[in-house]
Symmetry: D2
Subunit: 358 residues, 4 copies
């Protein structure tokens, strides 16, 4: 509910972007799980502001301080609490915005809800508040069975530049080779050009991220309201700026015939496989042993330099130009977030299935 994700493995996050810190508490984690500090640092680095020229230049150290639940890099079975200090906030950037609701930001809706704002910098509707999910995702990874599950996400489009559908050689290496986390070098270069041009104009754009999970056995996920795809959709829609989610063929499925779409079941080397994977690895909310593939859309970053029509807090007409440091496109930085949340959801469903005795 509200700030807690998961049923057996539960992450509660806290923190405003310009408050002292962001952090989280993970409950329900088994004892004896390794905390891989290097892996955490690496994923945090991947989501970091200032990574490259198209992202906001805010400098954040993003070191994780574990406050409880961990001793000598092993979990104790008790709640794991951790903090990441907020450093380098430039609240003056936000001074100009204090009395103005920014178009397509959460400012107005937030104000109507809470009758107050949570300080400068977007408060709890800033992307920074999801940073604790990255830490939780790294811990969740260690909870999963030791062998064979991989969760990999990449940028599949930025603005109107798309990774070709037939580009299938996707691996960690070519994703990381691109500052934009697009595995195709040529596409990545075209995306870069687009972003350079938008940055010059003070404009922004959106994009899509695709995620592929391999190695999940058949049988994870719960029928009806506990569907694995519903849990994934819920988690992904919780990421800032995400406006859409699709599994497997997604929207394209709606225009297909059953005879084209259905994934024939086959045996291969003693294992059940499907001839195609239009369903994206989940049937009836339960994993079917094939790759789980989903995709989500991010809207353009709402903070742009050009003048926009809006209203003030006392509901007067005004205009606003947003001049602070802001990403031109948030999509590349979201890649580790997507992986982290997906891993967390998987670990929760794994523990749930374990409680059922399988």
């Amino acid at each position: 509910m509200q700030n807690t994700l998961g049923a057996i493995l539960r992450l509660t996050t806290f923190g405003e972007s310009h408050g002292p810190a962001v952090g989280g508490v993970i409950d329900g984690c088994p004892a004896g799980i390794t905390i891989d500090e290097k892996a955490i640092a690496k994923q945090l680095q991947r989501r970091k502001t200032g990574l490259q020229s198209f992202s906001s230049s805010r400098k954040e150290a993003d070191e994780v301080l574990f406050v409880s639940g961990v001793l000598n890099n092993k979990t104790l079975g008790t709640p794991i609490a951790f903090l990441v200090e907020n450093k380098g906030q430039q609240s003056k950037d936000y001074e100009q915005l204090k009395n103005v609701f920014r178009p397509s930001h959460a400012d107005y809706a937030w104000f109507e809800k809470f009758a107050c704002s949570s300080g400068s910098g977007g408060g709890r509707s800033s992307a920074r508040v999801l940073l604790p999910c990255v830490v939780a995702g790294c811990i969740a990874k260690e909870i999963l069975p030791a062998k064979g599950i991989s969760v990999m996400a990449w940028v599949s489009s930025i603005g109107n530049v798309f990774l070709p559908n037939d580009f299938s050689e996707i691996n960690n290496k070519n994703i990381e080779a691109s500052a934009l986390r697009c595995p195709d070098n040529a596409t990545s270069r075209r995306m870069t050009k687009l972003l350079e041009s938008l940055q010059k104009d003070g404009d922004s754009t959106g994009g899509t991220v695709t995620c592929r999970i391999s190695g999940v056995p058949a049988g994870w996920g719960e029928p009806v309201f506990g569907k694995l795809n519903a849990a994934l959709a819920h988690a992904m829609m919780g990421i800032n700026s995400v406006k859409a989610f699709e599994l497997g063929e997604g929207f394209a499925a709606a225009a297909m015939k059953g005879s084209e779409y259905n994934d024939a079941l086959m045996m291969k080397g003693g294992k059940v496989i499907t001839k195609t994977n239009h369903d994206g690895g989940i049937n009836g909310g339960i994993s079917n042993g094939q790759d789980i593939i989903f995709r989500m859309a991010f809207k353009p970053v709402p903070s742009i330099r050009s003048e926009q029509q809006t209203i003030t807090r006392d509901k007067k007409k005004t205009t606003v130009k947003i001049s602070g440091r802001h990403d031109t496109c948030v999509v590349p930085r979201s890649v580790p977030m997507v992986e982290s949340l997906a891993t967390f959801i998987l670990a929760d469903h794994y523990l749930m299935q374990k409680s059922r005795g399988k």
Copy 2:
């Protein structure tokens, strides 16, 4: 979790499609809410099998029996339990399928999870198990503030036949005038032709449903993991065959520039409005007072007459032709389901906001 939806207003559903009954328990409903039996009967009729020739011809009476929580058509504040008997199951249709996993059905994943099947007819992965959500949605409607909130869904595409984007005269009347719940008469006729042709071939198709919620004040929904859009996505992805969800511009947003996309805030008649509504009425997970608009994709019905490659329970290669009564397209029948779940989610968030004192 699993079979429960909602945080303060909670619906737990039960029932297999070929068991004695399906039903639900609603907890957290205030006392004194009217049970509008006519409205419930009408919505159940709308989702009913056998409505028209493209749907499965199974005859179901679908009368709701309230077992607790209601006296003289008013809620008591105690759990509302209700049942709808399963009648007219033709289990022999399923006899042939007993040892076969149907392609793109939940059969295989379910079997791997539970090491048993839930009897004939799809068990708890049948669309029938969501029937209790329709009852819950009708009750939820009465919980909402008396004035001004409307939830309306319609079919926006079937297969490759789309409602034109510029068709905006959408109302209850023209939706109900179409057996397919597509508000445009011309489009509806083209959809009918497509379905007739598919039915002849024993094939099936998918489609999309769009939903518009008007009248929700700004301030409903919770930040981070309790976002209103995430709750809607979670609920909609729980509907059988739904593979995708988008809010406002959805996937199209990913290709837009910030300068095109942002919804300028304006005053009109003392009320805050936005010039455009690309965000679909929700910012940062919180309603912004504009129409909430979302859309979801249904994959084709997996039960088709043509021969399909598959495997048996003991993992031998085989083929299957599915000959029972099955929908050619499930999308029109899903319309009341979408409205019901959306209404339930809204009522839960309304009560949550009420607990905050607004």
Copy 3:
């Protein structure tokens, strides 16, 4: 919350005592668990009204109808819904009480909460609404590991007649030999005399029930807010008329010295045991492998024949004599309820511990 008990194994109950039925939904139950209908019938018979002359003479058939989640006496892994019809309600007994708040009943508090009453007969504050817990307890028993866990409760006092502290030969046989479920024949006879005398006077009394759980391994229960003793206390305080709960020495512990109280740890036949069991088998909220022993107090049945001072619904002074069929003492009938709830709580904690990998 409200009408749901448990974290992983979850029971939601519904039903008013004079409505059509009471029942429950059990979610999170593994598939393949046996439904032992005879054991259920036996426990229901044990809690049944009309068992003997000191209990209310209401005749109830109490047959359980499983509506979902069960096929051929095995659970499917889906929600188990069941109903027990309410028969033989004599609502006229309650006609006289319609406008009067009965002293020490829930009538007044209920009316202030819900601004309505839930019909005649105590509505949802009747003991009958806990009947579904008995069914759930029998199912929970089958979830527990096959060997060695026993849950046994008995009447340890009625009014001022107490089972002697040094009476330790407690077993199913001597408990069942007594209509009052007191294992000591002599004490049972004295209790009977007390109840006969009270019944003649139209008066009532309370009593205590003690419960002993053997065979739980060390390690079940969660620290802090998930303590096994806290879960047991919560469940027991949910039983009608229970006013007190104690574990092990309970209130007597408060007057002891540490040097008297502490349970020395010892080895015996390769197993860890404690020399004494003042702690009642739980330390820090976690089972320690010794017998779990707790006791609870039931207040006197509030329905008595003598004239009592009270007020009407419109807050006028009045008096009331309660003449219907009512138990003189509810304690013997509560014994199977105590066992059932204890077993359910254990099964939930067992599944929780299983999710942790032990």
Copy 4:
């Protein structure tokens, strides 16, 4: 579940006693609630170690650092996270205990559960881990309606020294006048003598705390599993060393007749009152407008100086003398804890009732 308390207002705590800090996250708190830092500091001071000679001499600064959810001493409506650093841990005190399970401590059960210990000092089974509940209780107090609710607890016995039953002049002043928080000066002196004697012997004892809540209107609390008394019992049994809980007459009720026990309803000055308050202010789980009175028993502090029989981690027979700084009696320090948890439970039920529209 596990480390979270509450349904709408939810407190998740974390921290081991000898880790870097203890703390908590409060979710579901309305915006605009005042953080009364002085009241928090005062309650923390009341529970502080080293208050007087019978308590452990560990020096703790116990300053609360708010990390999120608060701006200018007002809540933002976002999760309130806070930390209290652990200072002055003397881990060497625990060095001797590293391989030994202390009798009647959680050591052994904990080890069997988690297959590890949570470091020195009792880890998460130390009383210190409930410190965050004190902070939460102070915030909860501000959530409650502005007028008239008071929550007051006091020591009603230590060892075999009891506050006389007829001592009724209980107020904040005479409670605070006693270092032992016993409102009767004479009794307090006798308790002091007892503790002095026990301290000399290196022994310890238990005691009871009574709590009275005035001003709660009728109608808070939920039937069946959400009973207000069950929520209170659950919370109180979560406090370290608590072995028993009773509401109103509690165990004494079991020996009473209905005709003695029943609380007659009366009108006084336009208000509903009861002639007696044997029920302790709650009927059927719902507050009835009278004072809510409950009492709980604490077992003796298990850390004593005399030699005790026990076993080592590798299950060898051994003896132990516990020589570090330890309380002789923990009961006086528990008083603010009891008040805090009771207030928190009340605030949660208040918000729940608010969501119902009353």
